[in-house]
């Protein structure tokens, strides 16, 4: 088996330790003897997105997001929308997650048109939602508790046709109002958990990998790995969050 990963805008959207997510997917596939390749596709690069199984978009600085909107308009936006509808697996984080939606409206009312690949939109707010947080995800097999770090001032609202990725246990999630976190649409996983989301949440990582492998090979069950360090790191943060529940 082989999984082809495309890291979209690895240089423009690289702010918060996203490298940890790529590293985690690579290692967890390699440890199971599954071949994996990761290719970047940056501003100005033309690549055929249909050749990949999993597409990753990370978070970025406000400033840099503007830079790549014009690049998206050169045809990448159409390719991304087509890949989503085709059932390709996406992991989109923070700025990358917002970018999959219809638009971002800043606090002073300026609207930035985004991809519209997933039915959601984001509105800027004055407060920044920053801290460790946790949410519950139903993997179809079990309910897992995901821990992460959120840092966003945009509030995201989901449209009728999509589901949240999870339910907030502590923290803000999509907007701090409706208890939802992230999005799940076809095989798109979107979340505000920035940076190294996957290493501490091995079950979520495996769910995403299985989704991509199943789409490609019809079925797939990943063998278990010794996740002692992963679970220790996960549990330590979860306990921290529960102990001083975020204001």
């Amino acid at each position: 088996m082989e999984l082809k990963i495309c890291h979209l805008y690895p240089e423009a959207l690289n702010l918060y330790g996203d490298r940890g997510n790529i590293l985690c997917m690579k290692k967890r596939l390699a440890w199971r003897g599954i071949d994996v390749s990761v290719e970047g596709c940056d501003i100005g690069e033309k690549k055929d997105l249909t050749q990949y199984d999993l597409l990753f978009i990370g978070g970025g600085q406000d400033f840099e997001q503007e830079v790549l909107l014009s690049d998206l308009a050169t045809g990448k936006a159409d390719a991304i929308r087509a890949a989503v509808e085709d059932g390709k697996t996406f992991l989109c984080i923070c700025g990358g997650y917002q970018m999959m939606g219809h638009y971002y409206e800043t606090y002073d009312g300026t609207r930035c048109e985004f991809l519209g690949a997933v039915d959601l939109y984001t509105v800027g707010s004055k407060t920044r939602m920053i801290d460790n947080y946790a949410y519950e995800v139903d993997t179809g097999r079990e309910t897992i508790q995901v821990v992460g770090f959120e840092n966003h001032s945009g509030k995201t609202y989901l449209g009728a046709g999509v589901h949240p990725l999870g339910k907030v246990i502590a923290g803000n999630g999509n907007n701090g109002e409706d208890g939802t976190e992230g999005v799940r649409y076809k095989n798109v996983f979107g979340t505000y958990s920035h940076g190294p989301l996957l290493p501490k949440n091995p079950k979520l990582c495996d769910l995403i990998l299985e989704t991509a492998l199943t789409r490609k090979y019809g079925s797939c069950e990943l063998s278990p790995l010794p996740d002692a360090f992963e679970n220790l790191a996960h549990d330590a943060v979860l306990e921290k969050i529960k102990n001083h529940t975020i204001a």
Binding site: E11, A12, N14, L15, Y16, G17, D18, R19, G20, L23, C24, K27, I43, Q61, D62, F63, E64, E66, V67, R128, I130, D131, N132, F149, N151, S153, H194, G195, P196, P199, K200, A228, F229, E230, L232, A233, D235, A236, V237, K240
Partner: protein, 459 residues
């Protein structure tokens, strides 16, 4: 800036001194409380207690403390006194404490000169009160993002500070495209400093904090790199580019674990200097100090000699004689600084023990994502690392990072308190390298300096 009246000044200074006295009696080096006490009585007490002083302020992500130590050395070479906030308490409260505790009871400064380290976010509160003669901005890297949001916000915060003091001379790192942009459209006199020669392997950095032109968004090109996003940058689209530095490093003669011999050019002359600290980032600190010292009006020879004198400062790169072997402590708090420390440690070709400490308290930043951007793979690939220890609030995260970097999980051990680390270091036959972040450094340094006879940091 309006100064507080005499009555409030007296109260504020008295409160500051009393709070510090209590802390010292109880053996604690806490530095925020005295400043907070003073601020309670007079919000702008600094304007009075610093009146008439000549001050250099150093801000920027990395190198603040080392640059300050170099400048302090240079200032005191001729025996004249110089104030400095040595403890690293660099917010408004810490600066207030340092300056106000050294005022007389009427709030008049007793010392004429000061070198003040100032947090990037606090600059705009501090500088309008103290009117520094010189402001140094060392560099801007990703650091403690959860405090400032994003790196361009940090730049903007510094900019706001600078706009309040048009009379201050700016010393700016010409090699940093973010810092460099601070000089635009302000009337301040600018002294640029930078490295005129390539350093390092000239690979494009895997993670850059400033990839795109701050003006037009085009990726920067480089004539050469020095480290991280620093180097001779230019924008091929709009023409934004590095300024030729007045104070420049022109040649590196020799670099080893104790320091660097190099050639500095400024004031129309070339000088042979020795920098008493290893690694490239300390060359930048030396340049920053040379530029600020020149702008301040310090005499050249004393200034150059002081660059050699500075050996270690408060956990930045400090050595303790723990037992048969030495323990070296190197503060790391963001990917750029961490990668420099990792290069230094892997460059030492002998068997060693590594201790990595990670806290996530307010002074560290609650977000520890940056460890995934730092090149621990390089360290994990060093065959001379025989044992790993992890420690701190987020020790489990560090342990996991090492696993994914490729370190053998069987060789990684989690320690639970500072004493365990001290005992391990005392028993170790191999040199021990401790890489803590800020608050973990504070607690470790206390234990190590007590055990090895070092002095407390406020002395």
């Amino acid at each position: 800036m309006k100064k507080p009246d005499l009555f409030r000044s007296i109260l504020a200074v008295a409160a500051c001194k009393a709070a510090r006295g209590v802390l010292r009696l109880t053996g604690r080096g806490g530095t925020a409380a005295p400043g907070k006490a003073a601020l309670f009585f007079a919000r702008d007490i600094l304007a009075r207690t610093s009146e008439g002083m000549e001050i250099i302020v150093v801000t920027g992500t990395n190198g603040k403390t080392t640059t300050c130590r170099m400048l302090e050395h240079a200032m005191t070479k001729d025996g004249s006194p110089c104030l400095a906030n040595k403890s690293g308490a660099n917010l408004l409260s810490g600066v207030t404490a340092e300056i106000s505790c050294n005022a007389d009871w009427l709030g008049r400064p007793k010392t004429k000169r000061a070198v003040i380290e100032c947090d990037e976010g606090a600059l705009k509160q501090v500088v309008p009160l103290i009117h520094p003669k010189v402001i140094v901005v060392t560099n801007l890297f990703r650091d403690q993002l959860d405090r400032y949001g994003e790196i361009t916000h940090t730049r903007d915060a510094i900019r706001t500070g600078i706009e309040k003091v048009p009379e201050s001379i700016l010393c700016l790192n010409a090699d940093d495209s973010l810092v460099s942009s601070l000089a635009e459209n302000v009337p301040n006199r600018v002294v640029w400093y930078g490295v005129n020669t390539p350093l390092g392997d000239q690979r494009d950095p895997e993670v850059s904090d400033a990839k795109y032109c701050i003006h037009c968004g085009t990726p920067y090109q480089y004539h050469y790199h020095t480290y991280a996003h620093l180097g001779d940058f230019y924008c091929p689209h709009c023409g934004y580019h590095r300024q030729a530095p007045e104070v420049a490093l022109t040649k590196v003669e020799e670099m080893d674990a104790t320091g660097t011999r190099a050639e500095l050019s400024f004031g129309g002359r070339t000088h042979q200097v020795t920098v008493g600290l290893p690694a490239v980032y300390n060359l930048y600190n030396a340049l920053a100090a040379a530029a600020a010292g020149t702008a301040f009006g310090l005499e050249e020879d004393g200034l150059l000699a002081s660059l050699a004198d500075v050996h270690s400062s408060f956990g930045r790169m400090e050595t303790f004689r723990t037992g048969q072997a030495l323990t070296q402590m190197i503060l790391v708090k963001n990917p750029a600084g961490c990668n420099q420390a990792l290069s230094y440690v892997t460059g030492i070709q002998q068997d060693k023990v590594l201790v990595l400490c990670l806290n996530d308290r307010t002074a560290d930043g609650h977000d520890i994502s940056w460890i995934w951007d730092a090149d621990y793979e390089k360290l994990a690939g060093d065959p001379h690392v025989v044992q790993w220890y992890v420690f701190g609030d987020r020790a489990e995260d560090m342990q996991l990072r090492l696993k994914y970097a490729g370190a053998d999980p069987a060789k990684i051990q989690l320690l639970h308190n500072e004493e365990e680390i001290l005992k391990m270091a005392q028993a170790s036959a191999l040199p021990v390298f401790i890489l803590p972040n800020y608050t973990s450094m504070l607690s470790l340094r206390k234990v190590f300096s007590e055990a090895t006879g070092g002095s407390a940091f406020w002395k």
